[in-house]
């Protein structure tokens, strides 16, 4: 591949991810509003928020690590996007594979955790403690699911996994081949979004939005950007693993938005779990489904 072309892809992939991610944020908020019989925010609301936050006059920072943490939170996802194939662009997906992707997706959490740590606010620290606990909760089923898919495909290369699913049309989709894993993956994915009922680490009424408590201005804006990437990454990963990726952009975006609409529609119907209940839930049902699914695959 020509270097220039690759460079273009590497630039375009995060950009697309950001734009689509913003739409996804909007979709989540609109769905929430609809469920609550509200109108919801206007089309460009996510953009307004980000621009406003970045243009705040006061940018309160608690130190260098506070800043770097936010940079890492954004940068980790930006890097992750280049490992996530989209129609027509593979980026460097072949050089990392799914395990690397999974680990790159942990970098933002770690960066955020560092940044929050320097804020010296116990609410933030508690939030991070809970966020990491939540990660422990949902990553276990997620890992089982990824193991199953990668083992079934015989590769960790996402490009190959997608190609295999597209080869036989609908019948070779992961979700059809491995329905149990798909369900387990959906639950784990929902938890990893950090939305209700799994938003234990935001918990505004309890720990004052946890990690975000001392975030203002561009710091908070950075987190909003990160959220766009996060939604995009998770839904596209799910689409790539189970729904055959996308052969065309339309197909791809449709699937991605639909996948995200499922947890979004469920989320706002429930109150929040406690931490230990989240753990209990995640370690019980999706793990059980996932293990049975893996047993089928083996």
């Amino acid at each position: 591949m020509a270097p220039l072309e690759l460079l273009l892809e590497l630039t375009l992939m995060p950009l697309v991810a950001f734009l689509v991610g913003m739409m996804m944020v909007l979709m989540m908020r609109r769905i929430a509003a609809r469920i609550q019989r509200r109108v919801g925010p206007p089309l460009f609301q996510p953009l307004y928020d980000i621009v406003k936050l970045h243009s705040k006059q006061t940018q309160v920072s608690h130190g260098l690590i506070h800043d770097i943490g936010i940079v890492m939170a954004m940068g980790g996802y930006i890097a992750a996007e280049t490992l996530l194939p989209v129609p027509g662009m593979n980026g460097i997906a072949e050089k990392g594979g799914i395990i690397t992707l999974l680990y790159l997706m942990m970098i933002p959490s770690l960066g955020l955790a560092l940044g929050v740590g320097q804020c010296a606010n116990p609410n933030g620290s508690i939030g991070i403690a809970r966020a990491l606990t939540a990660m422990l909760a949902y990553d276990i089923p997620l890992v089982i699911v990824i193991f199953g898919v990668a083992y079934a495909a015989g590769t960790t290369n996402l490009v190959d996994i997608i190609a295999q699913q597209q080869a036989g049309g609908f019948a070779t989709w992961g979700a059809v081949q491995m329905p149990l894993l798909a369900v387990a993956g959906l639950i784990a994915m929902h938890a990893s979004l950090g939305k209700q009922p799994f938003e234990i680490y935001i918990a505004p009424a309890e720990i004052a939005t946890g990690p975000m408590v001392e975030m203002s201005g561009k710091h908070l804006g950075g987190l909003f950007v990160m959220q766009c990437f996060q939604l995009y990454t998770i839904s596209v990963l799910y689409v790539s693993l189970f729904l055959g990726g996308g052969s065309t952009w339309f197909d791809f975006l449709l699937k991605s938005f639909l996948v995200l609409a499922i947890p979004a529609s469920i989320a706002y119907l429930f109150p929040r779990y406690r931490t230990e209940d989240l753990l209990r839930l995640m370690w019980k049902w999706p793990v059980m489904l996932g293990l049975i699914g893996v047993a089928f695959v083996l």
Binding site: I78, K95, G97, I99, I107, I126, T156, T275
Partner: protein, 625 residues
């Protein structure tokens, strides 16, 4: 007689010991010893051909004692481990020189004994690594055990107690190996490697089982494999700072070396695989693999509950050993490479972490995670080293720990072992949780008033830390460098060699190229930074200018979350910490105590003649019948 390179190395090491022994009390003794370690490392580097493609360098030293031949030689396996040993010895010793040494002496520590113990450890490790037959292996093994004991015990107090516990375990392990040695000898008639290799082929299953248990258990004690892991954390943690860096980096890996040499090279994974446990589906290899993953999980989650930074790290040291064994036991190209590479990687980040924590202790006087906080503004370089170290430990990109763990995961995936894979990931997640606690409670959060005037660690301590940090990053960026050595080790021990590139590994089922991964990661950080810094200049605020629900914060009130850090998690899993292994250990001790009481009672009886007569009668009766 011409000296081979190995002779040179051993002589050099012996000379280091003598220097530490005789002029170790003099001026700048630490620096001299450090330079000598450097010299040893150079000698080792002269043997670098071993690390690239094998061969053997024999020592001209050999004995025949009581009909047993003792010989010593180096191959790729020894070279790889010796490189790590000398590297960590050099850096730990460097770290100890200067400021640390002075403050340690001021606190009443014996710096002469410390350097002596270090030199002794290095020498004995080199002897172990050079062992050319099973008897010299055992000799080296015991030397390493006792040298380690000296280093662990020299701090006195709690450290000595921990060292006592260690030596009891180590003796038990040593005796298991001794017994295994005797069994091997009885069937092969010799302890030379090639003779044993032939004898193994004709061994009965029972005997092989017995040997696997004896050797596995014996070597496992040193590695801290479950259920013999209890000694390790306190013993390593209580050793004086640089010593714990050294021990944590390499000491328990001697167990892995021996396992590689005996179980993998001599017995062969195939033979071990053929040992089935009746009425179950698993065999000895599965058993080892499961021991490995439990060694990953339990100590890692124990580490999470530690409130002393050194103990936390030491517990992780046990857990990480599990990854190495797991990789080696899976024994395909990637698994073996992952396991072996993890030895190298672990040594680098564990040493860096222990050094960073020691630097903090040096400046603040405590490693209690509830009594620190916010030090990033006072010790930023130490923070950076610790950060790089924990990223390595947790196995996240872009540090080297990621590569080795990735290889282990991939091998488990290729071999289709979902439960082991899952367990390994649980270990990693647990590690992430607990290392965040470590860095948060020391460096992040609120700076205490008494630490306002703390300074960065002195350069004599900083320099080795920074070097280690650089190694961690560079070998993360170019894992091909150590993978070249690892590949020749794999060949030597009879595992399939991995197909490596400078940036990682090449494989049809998904490759890894760290240069690209790290490249895009940093590009991502760059873009993130552009987005972030394009907004207005930030205003730094004091830590007490903080949201507290409208409450006015003051310096005398601690506003930091450190204790019971993962409270929510502990609500669920807290009850699962049963201390079963501690209970087991205590039970064994009480049993011995009880038996001891009985035996003493036996000897305290006054009517001894009764025993004599009754024994005589009993014996007579036995004879007549």
């Amino acid at each position: 007689m011409t000296l081979t390179l190995l002779d040179e190395l051993l002589l050099f090491s012996g000379a280091t010991l003598l220097v530490a022994l005789f002029i170790g009390r003099g001026l700048a003794a630490g620096w001299m010893v450090t330079i000598l370690y450097g010299g040893q490392l150079l000698t080792l580097l002269k043997m670098a051909a071993l690390g690239y493609g094998g061969g053997i360098i024999a020592s001209s030293l050999s004995f025949t004692v009581m009909g047993q031949n003792l010989s010593w030689r180096f191959d790729a396996l020894s070279w790889f481990f010796a490189l790590i040993t000398l590297g960590s010895a050099l850096l730990s010793s460097w770290f100890a020189c200067g400021a640390w040494e002075r403050s340690y002496a001021k606190q009443g520590g014996n710096i002469w004994l410390f350097h002596l113990a270090m030199a002794l450890n290095v020498l004995s490790m080199l002897i172990l690594l050079a062992s050319g037959d099973l008897l010299s292996l055992f000799i080296g093994w015991e030397l390493v055990s006792w040298a380690g004991f000296l280093l662990m015990a020299l701090a006195g107090g709690v450290a000595t107690q921990a060292a006592m516990r260690y030596i009891t375990y180590a003796m038990a392990g040593g005796m298991a190996i001794f017994g295994g040695l005797a069994l091997v000898y009885s069937s092969s008639g010799s302890l030379q490697l090639d003779a044993v290799l032939i004898a193994v082929e004709s061994m009965s299953t029972t005997k092989l089982w017995l040997l696997v248990i004896l050797f596995g258990g014996g070597f496992g004690v040193k590695m801290g494999l479950l259920p013999f892991h209890l000694w390790q954390a306190p013993a390593y943690a209580e050793t004086p700072g640089p010593g714990s860096a050294f021990l944590g980096a390499i000491s328990s890996r001697m167990g892995l070396f021996a396992i590689l040499l005996v179980l993998v090279k001599l017995f062969g994974i195939v033979n071990i695989d053929s040992l089935k446990i009746p009425f179950t589906l698993i065999d000895a290899r599965d058993l080892l693999a499961w021991i490995a993953v439990f060694t990953i999980i339990f100590p890692t989650f124990t580490a999470m509950k530690q409130n002393d930074a050194r103990h936390l790290l030491a517990w992780h040291g046990i857990g990480q050993g599990g990854y190495m064994l797991l990789g080696v036991v899976v024994a395909d190209a990637m698994g073996g490479a992952g396991g072996l590479l993890h030895v190298f990687n672990h040594a680098t980040y564990q040493a860096a972490l222990f050094m960073a924590v020691t630097a903090v202790i040096h400046r603040t006087g405590t490693a209690d995670l509830n009594k620190l906080g916010g030090l990033v503004v006072r010790m930023p370089l130490s923070f950076m080293v610790l950060l790089i170290g924990i990223i390595g430990l947790a196995g996240l990109p872009p540090m080297n720990g990621f590569v080795s763990k990735w290889l282990v995961y991939r091998s488990l995936l290729n071999e289709g072992m979902p439960l082991l894979f899952l367990a390994a990931v649980i270990g990693t997640l647990g590690t992430i949780l607990s290392v965040y606690k470590l860095i948060h409670n020391i460096f992040l959060g609120q700076l205490r008033v008494e630490h306002e005037q703390v300074k960065e660690a002195p350069w004599s301590m900083m320099a080795p830390m920074l070097i280690l940090a650089a190694i961690i990053f560079i070998t993360g960026l170019f894992p091909g460098i150590p993978l070249a050595w690892v590949a020749s080790v794999q060949e030597v021990v009879g595992l399939p060699a991995t197909d490596y590139t400078l940036g990682g590994v090449e494989s049809v089922s998904g490759s890894l190229d760290m240069i690209w991964v790290i490249g895009v990661l940093f590009a991502g950080f760059g873009i993130g930074a552009v987005i972030f810094y394009s907004a207005g200049r930030s205003k730094r605020v004091h830590q007490l200018d903080n949201y507290a629900g409208g409450h006015f914060l003051s310096a005398d009130v601690r506003y930091q979350y450190s204790d019971n850090f993962y409270a929510g998690l502990m609500h669920l899993v807290g009850g699962w910490y049963r201390g079963s292994f501690l209970w087991l250990e205590k039970s064994v001790i009480s049993l011995i105590d009880f038996l001891s009481l009985v035996m003493q009672g036996l000897y305290r009886r006054a009517n001894a003649e009764f025993y004599l007569l009754s024994t005589a009668l009993f014996v007579m009766a036995w004879v007549v019948i």
